[in-house]
């Protein structure tokens, strides 16, 4: 494999080598959420008619795992290479900034999707999963993962130390994913918080993704597609610009 494909291959091989930590770990975490929240809330929470709470929870958890792992892949790979100094092997090559972008984000999407599929595979033992509109599922998972992979790329370029990256993850990524409607429908929130949720791009990723499973959602999937698509374009433009100017990697 040559050019950007070589970098994509290297990035995929990197997480695959430690799959226990990068794939099995996140799948197990999602399963714990499913067991505990599903068991505790199954009898109390009714989100949509005809849909049990556990069945409602599965796509949200899967998408949350997709998003968090896409972010983790590009950001941790970059920060490790920067701290260890081996990013120089890449800086010395003829690969252009677009090659970097495609490879890092591509590997993040692959990691996100592998973890997402893992979550579904294990969830299938606990609940029935329906796929009403698979194309929506595919579109939102790929675009959401790409969006988070790009955010991870930006965070990885910006951070100089592991704790800066951890701060980004704990104070931005985690709250936004948790408050996006993974565990609830925003219609169950007070009006004010419903309004706030509409400013969270993660809400649209999860709501649109969930539409693909049940054919029902809090807002129209087309609106979600538009918001996610525009957000993806915006962060991609920033990420590509940072790579083009060699932000914090070429002096």
């Amino acid at each position: 494999m040559t050019g950007w494909k070589a970098l994509l291959y290297k990035e995929v091989l990197r997480f695959w080598r430690v799959a226990f930590q990068t794939i099995a770990g996140p799948v197990l975490t999602a399963m714990l959420y499913l067991l505990i929240f599903g068991h505790a809330l199954e009898a109390h929470v009714k989100v949509y008619d005809q849909v049990s709470y556990t069945a409602f929870l599965v796509p949200g958890l899967a998408m949350m795992s997709v998003l968090q792992n896409a972010f983790a892949n590009s950001s941790s790979s970059l920060i490790m290479s920067k701290v260890m100094g081996n990013l120089v092997f890449l800086l010395l090559t003829p690969l252009s900034y677009m090659h970097w972008f495609v490879a890092y984000v591509g590997a993040a999407v692959i990691r996100g999707l592998v973890v997402g599929i893992g979550v579904f595979a294990v969830s299938a033992f606990f609940t029935d999963i329906s796929f009403v509109a698979p194309l929506w599922i595919l579109a939102f998972s790929v675009m959401g993962a790409a969006l988070m992979g790009t955010l991870g790329l930006i965070a990885g370029l910006w951070a100089e130390k592991f704790d800066q990256l951890a701060a980004f993850q704990n104070f931005v990524v985690m709250p936004m994913t948790f408050l996006s409607g993974v565990f609830y429908s925003i219609h169950s929130l007070p009006a004010f918080w419903q309004g706030v949720s509409h400013f969270n791009p993660f809400f649209y990723m999860i709501d649109g993704f969930r539409y693909g499973f049940f054919g029902v959602s809090d807002v129209s999937p087309w609106l979600s597609l538009g918001v996610v698509g525009l957000s993806l374009l915006a962060v991609s433009a920033i990420g590509i610009q940072l790579l083009r100017t060699g932000y914090k990697i070429r002096s």
Binding site: M1, T2, L13, V18, N86, L92, P94, R250
Partner: protein, 313 residues
Amino acid sequence: MSAISFQSVSKAYPSPRGPKGSTFLALDGVSLDIEEGEFFGLLGPNGAGKTTMISILAGLTRANSGSVRVLGSDVQKDFAAARRKLGVVPQELVFDPFFNVREALRIQSGYFGVKNNDAWIDELLESLGLADKAHANMRQLSGGMKRRVLVAQALVHKPPVIVLDEPTAGVDVELRQTLWQFIAKLNKQGSTVLLTTHYLEEAEALCGRIAMLKSGRIVALDRTSELLKAASSNVLRFKVDSELPKALADQARITGRIVQFPAHDALEIERYLAAVREAGLAAQDVEIRKADLEDVFLDVMTKNKDSVHGVSA
């Protein structure tokens, strides 16, 4: 066409000390042409700008002004072509812990667009004494072995121009021998080699031409043989048990008990020895040897003592 060409290259970094916004001039209008097939040495004390020059050449750093070309390709405007022609062995001992040696080399080949490179990778492994380490993870290798892999990684795309940035710092004798034999062979086959090193005897033995860099400027540039000729031809060397008087010490190079004076003729030698005797000291193990590159280097660096680092607001 020059293999490597620097034209009036300057580079200023933000100053770590001093007022905010002040800069430190790492390179001050450097011009240098290295011809194809040369084995060229770039020498200078720490902080002289050697690594900055190499970083600009490799595209890791951008020059503020001037232009740098590798076999005619501008390192900024035509970076992809320039980097394909260039193989750089970085100074820092870095590695990717996720892969074994062969994987690292295959991936690096891929970055440069080289397909099916196993024959050349095998040759590299063989020549650098890494054949039995091909399947070892990078983490398991000793420092010296990691250094060999760095060399192999730099050469994986058969670059016509090879840059080695202090490749033998902290490296055992065996690796130095293996490395120089291999690099000399590539040089004989036509590769251009640019070397920075602190080991002056290496530069003297290997480099046809040498540039000496100080405070971001080239202070000497000539054939190695000419540089050696220009220095005082002989060195008087002896040991003393106590300190030399200041007037004498200022002219000497002193390493512990060993004292060395540059000397041109017998008269000068007699004069030094007489001065030592008058100071009430006994010179032991007296010998006279040919001047080497280290003498030239110290000579050039002392002559240029006045030039200071440019600090401007």
